[in-house]
């Protein structure tokens, strides 16, 4: 069925958000029906553009990833057979997993496995780091766990400065041109797996802010009108799927953190094809309203997604 959808599409993305949402909604509607029946449901008959968001909780992070993806139809709707996939965690800081400044390595590993199971031909893991990348890749535990998968399709590499290419941001309001990482632009599927944490300036750093890991240049220059610039950058490389790592969240002193007192264990994952909706929901975990985060507001205003949680179909599993 992937092929059927892909047939009418240009090279990327696999299918757009609306198509995806329709299909997910159809899946939910026909939850009790057998898959052959689902295939017969015409897209037009599905519910209108209500984004779907799944939340899962549990101590086994690999298991809750499988659970949280279930309502979305697993990874199959996102990762075509033979697709080149970028899995983009946060590996920005020279911090250990329990310090909650980077994405949990177990989540990275589980996501890669799902991609491989879905038939990805290539899974690339990288991040443009804030601290020295050699340190962050080791301390975060991510490099080691990715290498433990030991599959030639999987790579965990440092960012190569040569691969940043200038991109005109047609829809950009605050930033109209910036360098983007070629591998992220070229990927068939871009899976965004940020860690949810406090950010001194942005309020929180969630799915939208994670775009900073695939952009070049002097990122401090993006700190003026940060929220709008984050939204602008996301128009260039929208996430195919966002899974927010709230297994533990950083409540204060973010984004770098460093103090275990600031970390709260929630054992939660949030998944949605709508990054704005995912961010909006994740914000509530900090006991904040979705509109407290400027980037969420800006992105919603640009039509990048839905921040009104009452308009989002939330499935807790």
């Amino acid at each position: 069925m992937n092929e059927k959808h892909a047939a009418g599409q240009s090279s990327r993305p696999i299918f757009n958000r609306r198509q995806f949402i329709n299909r997910v909604a159809a899946w939910s509607a026909g939850a009790l029906a057998a898959p052959p029946v689902f295939q017969l449901v015409p897209q037009a008959k599905a519910a209108p553009t209500q984004p779907l968001l799944a939340v899962a909780k549990g101590a086994d992070y690999e298991a809750i990833l499988t659970k949280v993806l279930e309502p979305l139809g697993g990874l199959a709707p996102f990762v075509k057979k033979g697709a080149k996939v970028v899995v983009k965690p946060n590996i920005g800081w020279d911090r250990t997993p329990e310090q909650a400044a980077n994405t949990h390595p177990l989540l990275v590993k589980a996501m890669i496995k799902h991609c491989l199971d879905a038939g990805a031909s290539k899974v690339m893991v990288f991040d443009r780091t804030a601290n020295d990348c050699r340190l962050t890749y080791v301390t975060s535990g991510i490099r080691k766990i990715v290498e433990s998968i030991n599959d030639p399709r999987v790579s965990c590499t440092f960012v190569d400065d040569r691969k940043f290419v200038p991109v005109k941001i047609a829809k950009g309001k605050a930033v109209t041109e910036w360098d983007f990482y070629k591998d992220a632009l070229d990927a068939d599927c871009y899976i965004n797996i940020p860690v949810a944490k406090h950010h001194c300036l942005a309020g929180l750093t969630l799915g939208l802010k994670n775009i900073f890991g695939v952009v070049g240049g002097k990122r401090g220059e993006l700190h003026q009108s940060l929220g709008q610039k984050i939204a602008d950058l996301n128009t260039v490389r929208p996430s195919t799927l966002t899974v927010i790592d709230a297994t533990r969240i950083l409540l204060r002193n973010g984004p770098s953190g460093g103090k275990l007192d600031d970390v709260k264990e929630l054992h939660t994952l949030i998944a949605s094809a709508d990054t704005v909706a995912a961010d909006a929901y994740a914000t509530t975990l900090f006991d904040m309203k979705p509109d407290a985060v400027e980037s969420t507001r800006c992105a919603a205003a640009m039509g990048l997604g839905e921040m009104g949680l009452n308009k989002v179909k939330i499935v807790k599993v």
């Binding site: 340190l135 080791v138 401090g220 700190h223 409540l251 006991d287």
Partner: protein, 545 residues
Amino acid sequence: MKNRRLRVPWKWLRRAVQLAFLFVFLWLFRQTESDGTGILHPAANLLFRLDPLVGASAILAGKELIALVWPTLITIALTLVLGRFFCGWVCPLGTLLDVAHRPLPKRDTPPDPRWRIVKFFLLGVVLVSAGFGMQLIGYVNPFSILVRGLAVAVDPWLNRSVTAPFTWLYKNAPESVTNVTEPVYEFLKAGVLPFQQNAFVWAGLSFAILAAVFALELVERRFWCRNLCPSGALMGLMARFALLRRLPTRVCGHCKAVADCDEFCRMGAFDEQERLIPESCNLCLDCVSGCPSGVARFGFRKTKAAPAPLEPSRRLFLASLATGVALPAVARVARDGSRLPDDLIRPPGARGEREFLDLCVRCAECMKVCPTNALQPALFESGVEGAFSPRLMAELGYCEYNCTLCGQVCPTSAIRRLPVAEKQKFIMGKAVFDKDLCIPFAKGESCITCEEHCPLPEKAILFREAEAVVKKTGQRAIVKQPFTVLSLCIGCGICETKCPLPGKRGVRVVREETVPPDVKKEYEELEKTNPRPAGGPAAERAAGY
């Protein structure tokens, strides 16, 4: 030695050993780099710890026994048995000079052989002035000159020259070409080239000194080793008592070869009366391999014929003594140590300025290993003797919070090897904001990039929300204006490095004692009125999730 008829190919054996040691040296040089684990190869600094002059001058200047230099005892012991073998068989600079000599034009008129006593003068000056508290070894130690030249100049330049064509092809060539070049590039990046493109201030100066050593090969073969090298001089003095010796200790005089040993000796190790100079012979064994009659050999047997007498005269000794005493005194006058530039930041774990300069042998290993390229060679900021000592230039790079590599690589513990937890508390300097430049003050726009990067668990940068005029629009807006919690700041410099301002940054790390009292007072006041956001988002106060 007994089986002289077997004719061991000594020359080739020596060359093989030389190349092997050169390879080990270059391999260790490449290992002197972060791999992300925070642990450095323990032998990365071995060359310096083997050199008796490094050990002696650091101990003399620092007035303390430095345990780290124990491997030099091996060198001393072997030198007392074998003589100045290190220079002929081990020293990577010597090997490189031998290699460089081959293509160079040969001169017919060698310089005055008495140049060879200069090395004893330099040795005396270095040791005496070290004793009087001035470390000059960075100017004359062969390993400091070599490693520093390689680390700050040759290696970065080589990396640039090798990667540039690959980068150009990567960006411009069709895929059919890059399909071939990229694997080569990957291979080079993985094993041969340094991890990152470093850049160092005054790289040309360190290169010029290294290049001069090589240029002297034009004057005479191994000119540096024969005449100038103070490390060689020290080992040479030990070699006088060595058990192994070239026999006979004179040019035998009935040679059928075209040239006598003294004519082709690369070290010029025979004096004007054709007597062997034990201080000069580096056991290259050319004379053994080249001897047509099989007379020349090396053996442990004593002979009646005495070698050349000890060369450094009393006058030379007194001259070096006088110079060694005078230089520190003159330098003291020229420099007022209490007034160092405010941005002369020393590496984490560095001893106090005086002690630090005494122990530092200017090897540049710390600059080589620093993962952010923050450590740079100083020029004369702390006097003539401070040249080539490491300083942290926060506008170029910062000190990684969890990194202790410079302390691990320092061969003389001028930078102490602190445990990570202790190093994280080591105060290098303090960050001070410049309101004329810092964006929220000067432009009325938000920024806080500095606070974002502050690695301390309790952030050493806080901010107050203040109304400011937005320069672009002329309107007023509330922005977060940063200040430093001086009691917490360790001066790692990441705030300065990451400050988005081009050129001069809105925040600078300065020496702790140079923070102006009024700034101190202001920050303390701000800390009282703008307490740390204790609850942060109300998450914790909320009842459960």
